[in-house]
Symmetry: D2
Subunit: 162 residues, 4 copies
């Protein structure tokens, strides 16, 4: 089984620009995370975009949906900013992509900052994607949720059943 990972940015991949003192995107850290996890899965990774969750719009969502639909793999993991992850999950479900297990995940703290939940979440997402039946899911906080029964709790920063 080969897994396709579609990278879209989000907190997961943010870095600190020491000259401006702001957060920005450079390259994705997904390969480094998989390497640190000694991941031996057959993974094909694409950087689809590198944007903040708040910049996500319908056009970009259409791009993500197309990439998830058109790739050969039946197991697809999408890294995504947490603020609009559920919205994108809905767009993916609306596309009625048959026979594919699609799992969205992300991070609350940038992987580059050392204390990130990204390593845990990606380990969780690549695991769920191998064994869950076809459908669209969010994998965060060690849990998996179906696209139509999940929301992000803005106060705790955690995902919960909606």
């Amino acid at each position: 089984m080969r897994i396709r990972i579609l990278v879209t940015g989000g907190t997961f991949d943010k870095e600190y620009d020491e000259l401006s003192g702001t957060l920005f995107f450079r390259d994705t850290h997904v390969p480094e995370v998989l390497s640190r996890g000694r991941c031996m899965l057959d993974v094909q990774m694409d950087t689809v975009m590198m944007i903040d969750s708040l910049e996500m719009d319908d056009e970009r969502r259409a791009t993500i949906v197309a990439r998830a639909r058109d790739c050969e793999e039946r197991a697809v993991v999408i890294t995504h900013g947490t603020d609009t992850m559920v919205h994108t999950a809905h767009a993916l479900a609306d596309a009625r992509i048959a026979g594919k297990t699609i799992v969205l995940t992300g991070a609350m703290v940038p992987y580059a900052f050392g204390s990130s939940d990204g390593l845990f979440n990606l380990g969780s997402a690549v695991s769920f994607v191998q064994v869950l039946p076809p459908g669209v899911y969010v994998a965060m906080n060690g849990q998996h949720f179906t696209w139509d029964a999940v929301r992000k709790n803005r106060e705790s920063g955690c995902f919960e059943t909606a």
Copy 2:
């Protein structure tokens, strides 16, 4: 669903003793890993023992088997040294514990050393344990293996289908 985590030590939980320059065990890092992963699962953790994989013997395996069999939870994760993890998986399978999904995991690098695979592996193990059917499994390298079809490759340090 509540998950029981049984801690037995292994590389996952080793620390560096700066006075003697050797590796040793103190408390388990599993709670810190779950906290860093912002894990919201209902988890009950027990430190069953804190030993090196090479110290594992039949008596200790019997203790682990008893703890996995006697706990209330139907989902059980066991952290274990990698060198004898498969051997303990066999002992668990031999006990024919009905109706439980048991997942063994561990790490190649101590969690305390910063570059560990432990965060990835525990994220993977708690995910697999929620969705795999009853049985005994090893979750390492982003993959899951059934107890009777896995071995550790001593040269690469990775687990593979046997």
Copy 3:
């Protein structure tokens, strides 16, 4: 010899707020840095303020100058944002504080982000403050500069002789 450390904030002490995705101040990390460095110096630390370098103004500089002048210790280290560190060094020099060695230092990357220069810089600053003659200095990039012969190079982020 006792050393007084006056904490004023700056990048050194910034943290990531995972709910808002922005940088903010909580408590200073100076005690953790000294502890990690196994520092055995007699150190007295005060958090004078916790502000971004760009918020520094003449009133706040007057507060810092007063604290450096009025403390009992003859060795004073000040952690400070790098953008206006040289300006504050001038204010300290203008105060003509007799018999004291005052060393300003900071960081380009927050200590909390793991890859910070803060540990190196504080190790450098507490060393210079013990052996340099009375005066006002900036200790950054492994070097020490007198207050009237230093500037921050905005393009490289490094300090250099002016």
Copy 4:
């Protein structure tokens, strides 16, 4: 002013071998430490040997003394295991090398383990070496000691005046 750094190994440079579960030496981390510290000093580094402090003997000490004596720089930092650092300091002092400031430093925790004191200690050592008068010193725990008035306290792991 150019600084010569002579690397001899010690805990500072130890790494974890994930296949054998033991500590070993590969390449020195001194360049990475200087880079993380955004060090702008003119530094010339040589790896003289990569050994555990306990393997240090008179022949190897003679090699270190020769390298410290023969290099062009008047400022020399030596990274060294902490257990026999004071012994090597004596050997350097016995050589009566005129006009050079020689500072030995090391670490209690390997730099590669994330929570190391190595970054702090190297920041301290390169600072002391620039301003102390000619002589042989140990720089540890934020302090500097002359070669003939220092010992390592085996119980605390800290250096103290002898």
